[in-house]
């Protein structure tokens, strides 16, 4: 942990060497998700509700997914950029150091320009939390936190899977975008609006709905069972196969060197 903090401050120092570029990129990040927010606003002001959810309720989805994703991207960027680490031989360096490979990949890159998006998610929360019609109790506040934190961890798991795939293919990686970028962009609405099949997929295979749709039902008192409050924790199971897959990739790398 101490080591991680050290890496954290090193990355901070490095990025602050290029302040102008840093802030421009941050603003760019902000704008990109702002365009999505704007399109969401246009749609909701035209239709008022979608599947019975109001604008402010949809915003809770948007903000929790955006914040979760951006946290994962900011701190787990090493996995996102892992193909590059493999390509330039930096990964060999990680293997000759006496620390766990996962920790080193994690620490290899952090991207603070993602704060632009995190900030936006925070603003949206400030706007939507009081207006969403949710009666906020301690349990519900906890649920909202779980949505963000577990969401972040599941997206992080997806980055690990992405990195693991890069042990096997470089060109074919683009298909993972539908789960990472797609998960973020389509997560602006409750995942249930995409239909039964997609919801099942996002419940049992890549559990994005477990930290978004089901706890939202709990927040809105549509489902009163405490089980729905804790579904985000259930989604963390995804990290296990993700981790195992990455380790499998490392083993393959160590026997083939590529």
């Amino acid at each position: 942990m101490r080591l991680y903090m050290k890496f954290f401050s090193m990355h901070m120092k490095s990025q602050m060497q290029y302040k102008l570029s840093f802030f421009l990129t941050m603003i760019g990040q902000f704008l990109v998700s702002f365009a999505i927010l704007l399109s969401l606003y246009f749609m909701m002001s035209r239709f008022n509700v979608v599947m019975g959810f109001t604008y402010e309720q949809v915003l809770l989805c948007f903000a929790s997914v955006l914040m979760g994703y951006s946290l994962a991207e900011m701190l787990g960027r090493g996995f996102d950029l892992f193909p590059r680490m493999l390509g330039n031989g930096e990964f060999d360096r990680a293997l000759v150091r006496p620390r766990s490979v996962i920790t080193q990949v994690l620490a290899s890159k952090m991207d603070f320009t993602r704060l632009g998006r995190i900030l936006q998610a925070a603003f949206v929360f400030i706007y939507a939390v009081p207006k969403s019609g949710v009666i906020w109790t301690r349990d519900k506040i906890l649920t909202l936190f779980l949505m963000v934190i577990c969401g972040s961890l599941v997206f992080f798991g997806l980055f690990i899977v992405y990195a693991a795939f890069s042990f096997f293919t470089v060109e074919g990686l683009e298909f993972m975008n539908i789960l990472t970028d797609g998960g973020r962009e389509f997560g602006r609405y409750p995942y249930a609006i995409y239909g039964e099949g997609i919801l099942k997929f996002l419940t049992y295979f890549v559990p994005l709905a477990l930290f978004q749709y089901y706890p939202l039902l709990y927040l809105l008192d549509i489902e009163k069972s405490k089980l729905y409050m804790f579904t985000p924790l259930l989604s963390l199971i995804f990290l296990l196969p993700a981790y195992a897959f990455f380790q499998y990739g490392v083993r393959k790398y160590k026997s083939t060197g590529s």
Binding site: S14, D92, R93, L95, V96, R97, K254, T256
Partner: protein
Amino acid sequence: MIKLENINKTFRVAKRQGGFARAVKALFSREYEIIHALNNVSFTINDGEMVGYIGPNGAGKSTTIKIMCGILTPDNGICEIDGRTPWLERVAHVQHIGVVFGQRSQLWWDVPVVDSFELIKDIYKVDSSLYQTNLDELTELLDLSELLKTPTRSLSLGQRMRCEIAASLLHSPKILFLDEPTIGLDAVSKIAVRQFIKKINAERKTTVILTTHDMQDIEALTERILLIGKGKILLDGNLAELKKHSSERKTLIVEYTGKAPTISEGMTVSEAKDGRLIIVLDPTQLSVSEAISQLAAQSDLIDVSVTGVSSEEMVAALYEEYSI
């Protein structure tokens, strides 16, 4: 101590084929080629030795280094370094080795060198007093005091290499792997880096294993040479043995006055003009000093010069001899 016994390593490489039809076919079924990167490689290196590991590109140098570093797992064979098998006990093993990859930096580009050092200290869990002693010692040895506060991006290549070497020694490794440490450096920096490597080996008793394409590195640094070609160790000896091994001929250029000397066995005249002879000498039949004294006994010599084949030509000849 480093001990390798009968290490084998094969790679399966997908065949690349030209042509659209073949490329489409390759999407479904690929043909593979088996490459024997290492073939029964065995050697032992004692503590404190300095060894030059040479061979042409693709001969298996970096595969061997990667196995010794724990990056690669061999197909079979034994590799024991200080009693550990690198790929089985990676973390424990790498705590005791230092690695410098000549073309890749382990220093952070945008922050002062000393900050990178501090991070390395934490990565290797070096305790503060040891770190301080090592840092002071290395600063003096490698003449770093001016460089520590500079960000890596502002260092010259030679300065950077000195910092890289220091960085890989902060945790007092017993073994140092240097992969092409002088690549891309200018002549002055090369000499400096060589001196530092020599000093480190002498003063810190660190075992040094170095791969290089630069024969001057070998001449300046190592007593012992391992020559690898096509995955096999071809030669394990010192520079002199290497030289003896190569069919090395010397050229004598002799200027004299008066009567021309008669030439004995072992020498052949390749050119003869007034007062000047160019003689090719086979040192296995006749040594250089003997040849000169024979010549001097017969004629009045004004000038004698002896040129040998350079180490580079020698190694090139050797590669040819083994057809690698």
